[in-house]
Homo-oligomer: 149 residues x 2
DNA sequence: AACGGCCTTTAGAATAAGTCTAAGTTGAGA
DNA sequence: TCTCAACTTAGACTTATTCTAAAGGCCGTT
């Protein structure tokens, strides 16, 4: 984590009334460095290789706290397992139905401005766009097997 | 279910190699008549008031079969509980953070054309847009309490 | 209309994600 | 440094979903 980012995190955590424990830093640092949308279990397994250890309850507490502080986003994409994402900039997601990979999609790549025309009084505060399909490498494999048959 | 719809369902189920059991009709009929995005538990509770009874396993089997047949969509919006939706026409969803209600949003209301400019080779087959915010009636309550204070 | 294969349903046990609890620990303001 | 509310912890608990093995029923064929 750069010093700049660290300061930003500190001020956000402070604003949210959260203490800066080693466990919280470790979780956030991991999410910032690894954009793999891990589950709580994956985070636990990875962090417990190193210092500091964190129990399951702490991982969940931390993730929820970071979500409330707006530093992390919780995603439900595939199934009933929550995935987590350091919320550095807004972005969308693409899921490959062949290999299951979940990738980030930069907002610039999507011509989808969620300028909604809902009934009067509705207030959209945030939105999430999940695209599903086949990623480039799986598409290639599909084409290859088609040509063979 | 209208005769027309029933025929459509029969042909889709047949195409998917699925038998037309009373339980499957009951689940689909309930989803078509009630756009409340129920959980598997809510469906089970509701159906077991009437004929035919269906066990938990059957409800899940049926929902998965209907999903594969493209007649039903599985949604993970709030948390780790799956919600189900008769997939009659494409539409989006709006979740109110105050009352938790999940509402349908017609595509016409969203100026979001998912014409994505992903890396070459990517193929978007479907997408799902979930908007979060405050619904009209909750917004009104919020304003009312602001004026009082 | 009856038959029989095989898909479907069922109850209940098993699994897994996430939450709760109560006791010990610690970050950070004074 | 002192203090205490906030944090962490292990493990029990809850709840959604899946699995299993046996009984049942849909439907093409006769």
């Amino acid at each position: 984590m750069t010093t700049e980012l660290r300061l930003q995190v500190e001020s956000r955590m402070h604003a949210a009334g959260l203490k800066l424990t080693p466990q919280r830093f470790a979780v956030l640092d991991y999410l910032i460095r690894n954009h793999i949308h891990p589950t709580a279990d994956q985070i636990t397994a990875r962090l417990n290789n190193r210092f500091p250890r964190a129990s399951r309850a702490t991982i969940y507490n931390t993730l929820h706290a970071l979500c409330e502080a707006g530093l992390v986003r919780e995603l439900y994409v595939d199934g009933a397992v929550a995935r987590y994402d350091a919320l550095i900039e807004t972005h969308h997601h693409f899921v490959c139905r062949a290999c299951g990979t979940l990738e980030d999609v930069q907002p610039a790549a999507v011509r989808a401005v969620p300028r909604c025309n809902l009934d009067e009084g509705y207030c959209v505060e945030s939105y999430q766009l999940v695209m599903r399909g086949v990623c480039a490498s799986c598409k290639q494999s599909e084409n290859r097997s088609k040509n063979l048959s």
